[in-house]
C-alpha cells in the first residue's frame, strides 16, 4: 500500500545509525566510539534500533562506560524515524546495571544511588577541559615550534587539527571570532606563563595518547586485532 506523499516506513538504515554513533565520543580519550571499535553491533528493525557496545576491559570505569552508553542512546533517539533505541553494554562488570538503567531512561544518580553523590556532568566537564588542552597543543605542534604566543584564530590553517580545536572552542562556548587568541585556558582566559601552560598541555596530551594506546591494545588483546576499526595508530 504505497501512497505517494505519505511517509514511507523502514527508511532508517544501519548506515545512518553508524554515522550518528560516530559522533559519540569516549569522554576519557576524546575519540569516537566507532573509531575505537567499541560499537560491536547495530541492528535496525522497522523503527527499532539495537546497538551493542563492548569496551577494552571488564573493569573499564563504570562512570565513563555509562556516559558512552547513555550518549549513544541519546544520539540514536535524536535520529528521525527512530521509535525505540536500546543500547546494550556487554562483557562488563556493571553491564546489567548500566544497560537496564540507561534504557529505562534513568539517571546515573538514580541507578547508583547508594554509590553516587551526584550526576556525571562535572566528570564530563573535567574531561572536556583536558580534551581542549590536548587539541590546542596539537594545533600548535602542527604549526611547528615555537608557535607565536599572539596567534589568533584567523591565523590557523584549515587542517584537521585546527578544525578539531575550533569545534571544541565552540562546544565550550568560548570566543570563536577571527581575532580571538589561540592560546587560552579552557575558560577562554589569557594565559600568563605561556611556556608553563604549553608544558602542561603537552603532558596532558601524552597522558591521553598513551592511555588511548593502552586501551586500543587491551581491546585488541581481548577481542582480536581485526575487530578494531579506524584510528590512526
Amino acid at each position: 500500500m504505497t501512497v505517494s506523499g505519505t511517509p514511507v516506513e523502514n527508511t532508517l538504515t544501519e548506515e545512518e545509525v553508524w554515522a550518528t554513533l560516530r559522533t559519540v565520543i569516549d569522554p576519557e580519550l576524546d575519540r569516537s566510539i566507532v573509531d575505537l571499535g567499541f560499537v560491536h553491533d547495530v541492528k535496525v528493525s522497522g523503527t527499532d534500533v539495537r546497538v551493542e557496545l563492548r569496551l577494552p576491559t571488564y573493569w573499564c570505569a563504570p562512570n565513563f562506560s555509562w556516559l558512552m552508553v547513555a550518549d549513544a542512546r541519546e544520539a540514536i533517539l535524536a535520529l528521525p524515524g527512530v521509535g525505540r533505541a536500546s543500547v546494550e553494554l556487554v562483557d562488563h562488570h556493571a553491564a546489567a546495571e548500566v544497560t537496564e538503567a540507561v534504557n529505562a531512561g534513568r539517571s546515573f544518580q538514580e541507578a547508583f544511588a547508594e554509590h553516587a553523590t551526584g550526576g556525571l556532568e562535572d566528570l564530563r566537564r573535567t574531561f572536556r577541559r583536558k580534551a581542549f588542552l590536548v587539541r590546542q597543543e596539537r594545533v600548535l605542534c602542527s604549526l611547528g615550534h615555537p608557535a607565536p604566543a599572539d596567534l589568533t584564530l584567523k591565523d590557523l590553517p584549515s587542517t584537521p587539527e585546527a578544525q578539531a580545536y575550533l569545534a571544541i572552542r565552540a562546544e565550550l562556548g568560548l570566543d570563536c571570532s577571527p581575532g580571538a587568541p589561540v592560546v587560552t585556558d579552557a575558560e577562554g582566559r589569557a594565559v600568563q606563563d605561556v611556556n608553563a601552560h604549553l608544558r602542561h598541555a603537552r603532558l596532558v596530551r601524552i597522558s591521553l595518547e598513551s592511555n588511548t594506546a593502552l586501551c586500543r591494545g587491551l581491546f585488541d588483546a581481548r577481542y582480536g586485532e581485526q575487530e578494531a576499526s579506524g584510528g590512526s595508530r
Binding site: 573493569w59 562512570n63 554509590h115 566528570l123 583536558k130 598513551s210
Partner: protein, 328 residues
C-alpha cells in the same frame, strides 16, 4: 644483578605478586573478569615469546617465579605488594599469607608489604598491627578500588584511613604504595584522580611517610606529575609504564621524558608487576634505551647510566634500607 660490559647494576623490582587467580579460587564472575583483564594487559604489552598460556597465568608455581625474577630476571630484591580481593576470590588474590610463604623461604630476596582497608575500622587496625609485627612490614599496598560488600571503594582522606596512616607512622611503616582502580566512592567522581594523594602527602610529610603512586597514576599521569612536583615525598612506581618499552616504544620514551622532567630520576622506581610482565626483557630493553634526540631537545632531559641505576634499584634501596653491594 644486571651485569654487562663490566658494569653491575643492582635491581630492586618494586612491585611483584604471587597470586592465585585460578578458577578453583574464583568466588564469582568478577574473579574471572579480574584475571582475564590482567591477562589482556600481559598479552597486549609482552613480546610474543614471553606470553604465557592462560592456565599458567592464572596460577604459577613458586619455582617459576623464583626463576623468572632471580635467575633469569636479574632481580636482587623484589617487593611484594598484596592485593586481597576477598570479594572476588575465596582465599584472596595475592594476600600477605600467600606472599609470606615465599618471604619466609627466601628472606633476603623479598620485602613483604602489608595492606589495610579503612572500612575494617578498629578490628582491622588490630589485625594490621599483628601483621606488621609478625612480618616486620615496612610498607603497605593500598588498593582504593577494592570492593567490600556493597562498597565499591574508599578514599585516602577518609577519617578511618587517616587513623590507619597515623598508626603506620607509629609502627615505622613508612612506604605507602597507592594503587587507584576503576571504582571508588563516590562513583560519579574520576576514580583514577590522584588528588587524595596530594592531601595525605602534605599531611604526613613531616611524619616521614612516602607515597609511591603505582603505575605513576596512569591513566592520569598528568594529575600525578602535577602533584609530584609539589610534594617531595611522592614517588612514581613504574609498573605498567615499563612494558610500553616493547609494544609502544615511542610512548614509553615520551612518558619517560615527561616523568624525568616533572618528577626527576631520584623518585622513579622500576617495577615489573610480575606476573603481569617478566623483568628480564624489560630490564634488557631499558638498559639499551636512550631518550630520542628530539625529546631530549624538546623536553630538556637526559637519561644517563647513573639515572638508570637509581631507577632500577638505588631509589627503592633507599626507601627500604636495602644494603647495596659495593660492587654495584
Amino acid at each position: 644483578m644486571y651485569t654487562k660490559g663490566g658494569r653491575s647494576i643492582f635491581i630492586v623490582d618494586g612491585h611483584v605478586h604471587f597470586w592465585d587467580g585460578s578458577p578453583a579460587n574464583q568466588l564469582n564472575r568478577n574473579g574471572d573478569g579480574w584475571i582475564r583483564c590482567f591477562y589482556d594487559y600481559h598479552k597486549n604489552l609482552s613480546p610474543q615469546e614471553y606470553v604465557w598460556p592462560l592456565e599458567l597465568y592464572q596460577k604459577y608455581p613458586e619455582e617459576r617465579m623464583m626463576r623468572d625474577l632471580f635467575e633469569e630476571g636479574y632481580v636482587d630484591v623484589a617487593i611484594f605488594l598484596p592485593t586481597n580481593l576477598k570479594d572476588f576470590y575465596k582465599k584472596g588474590f595475592n594476600t600477605i599469607e600467600q606472599d609470606g610463604v615465599l618471604k619466609e623461604k627466601h628472606p633476603d630476596k623479598f620485602i613483604l608489604n602489608g595492606s589495610f582497608d579503612p572500612r575494617d575500622e578498629a578490628e582491622g587496625l588490630k589485625k594490621f598491627e599483628q601483621e606488621v609485627r609478625r612480618y616486620n612490614v615496612k610498607g603497605v599496598k593500598l588498593y582504593t578500588a577494592e570492593w567490600k560488600g556493597s562498597s565499591k571503594g574508599w578514599k585516602l582522606t577518609d577519617p578511618w584511613a587517616r587513623r590507619y596512616l597515623d598508626r603506620c607512622v607509629e609502627l615505622g611503616v613508612l612506604n605507602i604504595h597507592v594503587h587507584a582502580g576503576p571504582t571508588i566512592w563516590p562513583l560519579n567522581k574520576d576514580a583514577f584522580d590522584v588528588a587524595p594523594v596530594d592531601e595525605v602527602a602534605t599531611a604526613y610529610r613531616d611524619a616521614g611517610l612516602r607515597f609511591i603512586v603505582e603505575h605513576c597514576g596512569l591513566p592520569r599521569i598528568e594529575d600525578f606529575c602535577w602533584i609530584a612536583v609539589q610534594e617531595p615525598n611522592v614517588y612514581a612506581g613504574l609498573a605498567v609504564v615499563m612494558p610500553f618499552i616493547h609494544a609502544r616504544p615511542r610512548y614509553f620514551a615520551e612518558v619517560m621524558a615527561e616523568l624525568l622532567w616533572w618528577v626527576g630520576e631520584d623518585r622513579l622506581l622500576f617495577a615489573s608487576d610480575y606476573a603481569l610482565w617478566s623483568p628480564k626483557w624489560i630490564i634488557d630493553k631499558f638498559m639499551a634505551f636512550e631518550i630520542p634526540a628530539d625529546l631530549k631537545e624538546q623536553v630538556g632531559v637526559n637519561l644517563t647510566l647513573e639515572g638508570k641505576r637509581k631507577i632500577l634499584g638505588l631509589n627503592a634501596a633507599k626507601l627500604y634500607n636495602i644494603q647495596v653491594p659495593v660492587t654495584a
